[in-house]
C-alpha cells in the first residue's frame, strides 16, 4: 500500500473495527472525493490456526474443531470433513444418514442466506428488511435446534454417518415451516424487486464482469451472479446431489442486485430440495461404525457451502491416529480478490454493501491460528502461560470485582 498517494486522494481505513463489518477485516481504501480508486484488503485478525491444531488432534476430535471454523456454515465444514475421512476409509455411510446430512446442509443454506439478506438490508440502511428476515430465520434455527440440539454448532455429523435421526413428528414440523418460509420470502422478493430505494442502491453497483469473475476464480453465488452456471452440487456431485432434482440459478447482470436475487432463488431451491429429501427419506440406520485406524492415503472433497466452494484435503500417514496434513480452503478467501475488482470505481457509500455482497465469513477465511502474543517484544507467551496468567488474575482480582459491585 504505497502511502505516497496523490494529492487529491485520501486514504480511508475501513475496519478492522467498523459498524459495517461484523467481523474484523481491514480495507485500505484510496478514495478521490466519493469515488474509490483502489482498495487493499488486510486479513488475519481472527486467525486461529485450525489447520495447525487439526494436525495435533485425533480424527474424531478434529470433527468438532473443524465445525467451529465458521459460525454460519458449521455443518458444511463438519460434513465435508467427515466425507473426506470416509473417502480415506473408503467406506459408505447408510443412505438414511446421507439424506439427513444433506438435509442439514440445505437447512443451513436457508439460515445462512436469510441471515445474509438481513445483513445486506442493514448495510444499505434498510433495517426493516433486517428485522423481517431475521425474524423468519428463527423458524429455521428452531428446526435445527429441534433436530440436532444446538442452534449453530450442531455436531450433527460423525465419521460414518449422522448422530441424530429425524422422527416423523419432526418431519411434519419441518414441512409446515418450509411452507411458511416460502410464502414469506416470495413476498419479500416481490417487494424487493419493486422498492426503488433498495434497487437504487443495488442495481449497477459493484460490477464483477463474467470474464474477471472466471479469471479470478470466484466461487459460489458471487460467480453465479456474474452469469456463470457453476455449482459444485451439479459439476462435482457428492453425497446424494445427483439424485435430488434441482437446477442451478444464475443471473447475468453481474451486479449486487443479481447477488441478492441469486441468493433468494437459491433459498427457494433449497426449500424444494428439503421437501424432496423429507418425502423420499429411506429408512434404515443413520450411522455405521467406522474403524479407528485410518489407512494411509489422501483425499480431496469439495462441498457447495452457502458462500461457495469449500475444499478439504486430508493426507493420513496410516501410522498415527491424527492426520498428517489437513488443508481447508474456505469460499471467502476465493472471493476476496474479486472484492478488489468490484470496489474500483464505486462510491464510498457503496463500500460496505459491496464487501457484504460476497457474504464474507471472515472467521472462515482466517482459520490458521497463531499463539497469543504479549505486546512486549521480548517475551512471547504460549497459551499454557496465558491460561495460568488468566487463572491467577481471575482468582486474585475477581473476588475484589464481585465484592466491589455487591458492597454498595
Amino acid at each position: 500500500m504505497s502511502n505516497d498517494i496523490p494529492e487529491d486522494e485520501i486514504l480511508i481505513p475501513l475496519g478492522p473495527q467498523h459498524p459495517a463489518l461484523k467481523e474484523p477485516i481491514n480495507f485500505m481504501i484510496r478514495a478521490e472525493g466519493e469515488i474509490v480508486v483502489d482498495a487493499q484488503p488486510r486479513i488475519g485478525y481472527v486467525h486461529r490456526g485450525i489447520e495447525r491444531l487439526a494436525m495435533e488432534r485425533t480424527y474424531l476430535k478434529t470433527a468438532y474443531l473443524v465445525e467451529r471454523v465458521c459460525g454460519i456454515c458449521s455443518a458444511a465444514h463438519q460434513g465435508t470433513y467427515c466425507m473426506t475421512v470416509e473417502e480415506l476409509l473408503d467406506m459408505e455411510i447408510p443412505p438414511r444418514g446421507e439424506y439427513i446430512r444433506t438435509l442439514v446442509w440445505e437447512l443451513e443454506r436457508l439460515h445462512s442466506h436469510s441471515l445474509w439478506l438481513g445483513v445486506a438490508g442493514h448495510e444499505i440502511g434498510f433495517d426493516t428488511l433486517f428485522m423481517y428476515t431475521w425474524r423468519d430465520r428463527e423458524l429455521v434455527m428452531d428446526i435445527l435446534e429441534m433436530l440436532s440440539g444446538n442452534r449453530v454448532n450442531y455436531g450433527m455429523n460423525k465419521i460414518g454417518g449422522v448422530r441424530y435421526d429425524v422422527t416423523d413428528e419432526m418431519k411434519n414440523k419441518i414441512l409446515k415451516a418450509m411452507d411458511l418460509l416460502e410464502k414469506r420470502f416470495k413476498d419479500y422478493k416481490k417487494k424487493l424487486s419493486e422498492e426503488p430505494t433498495v434497487l437504487g442502491r443495488l442495481v449497477n453497483v459493484g460490477i464483477l464482469k463474467k470474464s474477471t469473475a472466471i479469471k479470478l476464480s470466484a466461487v459460489g453465488p458471487t460467480l453465479r451472479a456474474s452469469g456463470v452456471k457453476a455449482d459444485i452440487r451439479k459439476d462435482d456431485p457428492y453425497g446424494i446431489y445427483d439424485e435430488i432434482p434441482f437446477e442451478v440459478i444464475s443471473y447475468d447482470s453481474c451486479d449486487l442486485a443479481a447477488r441478492v436475487f441469486v441468493r433468494i432463488d437459491e433459498f427457494f431451491e433449497s426449500i424444494k430440495m428439503i421437501r424432496w429429501i423429507l418425502n423420499n427419506l429411506p429408512d434404515g440406520p443413520v450411522y455405521k461404525r467406522a474403524p479407528i485406524r485410518i489407512p494411509q492415503g489422501e483425499a480431496i472433497c469439495r462441498n457447495e457451502a452457502p458462500r461457495g466452494e469449500l475444499m478439504y484435503y486430508i493426507k493420513s500417514d496410516g501410522k498415527s491416529n491424527h492426520p498428517e496434513r489437513v488443508k481447508i480452503r474456505t469460499p471467502t478467501l476465493a472471493n476476496i480478490l474479486s472484492i478488489g475488482e468490484m470496489l474500483k470505481g464505486s462510491y464510498l457509500a457503496d463500500v460496505p454493501i459491496i464487501v457484504a455482497g460476497i457474504d464474507p465469513c471472515i472467521s472462515c477465511m482466517d482459520r490458521v491460528m497463531v499463539v497469543h502474543e504479549d505486546t512486549g517484544k521480548a517475551e512471547i507467551w504460549t497459551d499454557e502461560k496465558f491460561r495460568d496468567y488468566s487463572r491467577k488474575w481471575y482468582k486474585k482480582n475477581l473476588k475484589w470485582v464481585v465484592e466491589e459491585r455487591w458492597k454498595k
Binding site: 476464480s217 457453476a230 497463531v370
Partner: protein, 166 residues
C-alpha cells in the same frame, strides 16, 4: 459416494492422464494416479509444472484454481495445485517437491490470476518464496509475528518462551 462405487467410470480420467503423459513424456512422474471419479493426482518434475498448468488451462478450460496446499515432509516441501478442469469436470492436483534449503518457486499468477492469495498464504505459512508475485506479503499472520518462524513447518515448536524452528 455411493454412486461412484457402482459406476466408477474413470476411463475419461485415465485418457486425460495418458494424454498428459504423451504430451510431456518423462516430466510426468509415474507416481501420478487416478484416485477416483473426477480426481486425478499428477506428479511432475519441479520445473515442468508451469507448462502442465498452461496446457491444461488452454485445452481443458482449467482456469479455476481451488487452492495451493503446501506440505512439509521433513526433508522437502511438497506443493499441490488443485485445479478444476471445467470441460471434463475433473479436479487435477499438480504436485511437485522442492528442496528445503532454498525454497524458491516461480509464481503462476500470470497463468492463473486466482492463485494470488494462495501463494501469499503458502509463503506466510511455509516461507516458500514465489518469484514474480505482484505483492508477496504476509497474508494471515499478525504484523509483529517474528521473521523466519513458519508455523506449518514440521519442526515448528511451541513451548515456553517463544516459538522457533530448529
Amino acid at each position: 459416494m455411493s454412486d461412484d462405487k457402482v459406476v466408477q467410470n474413470i476411463e475419461t480420467e485415465k485418457q486425460l492422464l495418458n494424454e498428459l503423459k504423451e504430451k510431456f513424456g518423462d516430466k510426468i512422474l509415474d507416481s501420478s494416479y487416478v484416485k477416483r471419479h473426477r480426481r486425478v493426482f499428477v506428479d511432475v518434475k519441479n520445473n515442468a509444472y508451469r507448462d502442465v498448468i498452461t496446457y491444461m488451462r488452454d485445452n481443458w478450460d482449467a482456469i479455476h484454481i481451488t487452492t495451493i496446499t503446501g506440505m512439509d515432509t521433513g526433508e522437502s516441501f511438497i506443493l499441490m495445485y488443485h485445479i478444476f478442469a471445467k470441460k471434463h469436470k475433473v479436479v487435477f492436483t499438480v504436485r511437485f517437491t522442492i528442496p528445503r534449503d532454498n525454497p524458491v518457486v516461480k509464481t503462476i499468477t500470470d497463468i492463473l490470476p486466482g492463485a494470488n492469495l494462495y501463494e501469499r498464504e503458502v509463503y506466510d505459512m511455509f516461507g516458500i518464496k514465489f518469484e514474480g508475485h505482484p505483492n508477496l506479503k504476509r497474508l494471515l499472520l499478525p504484523e509483529d509475528w517474528p521473521e523466519g518462524v513458519y508455523p506449518l513447518r514440521k519442526d515448528f515448536k511451541r513451548e515456553m518462551g517463544g516459538m522457533k524452528n530448529e
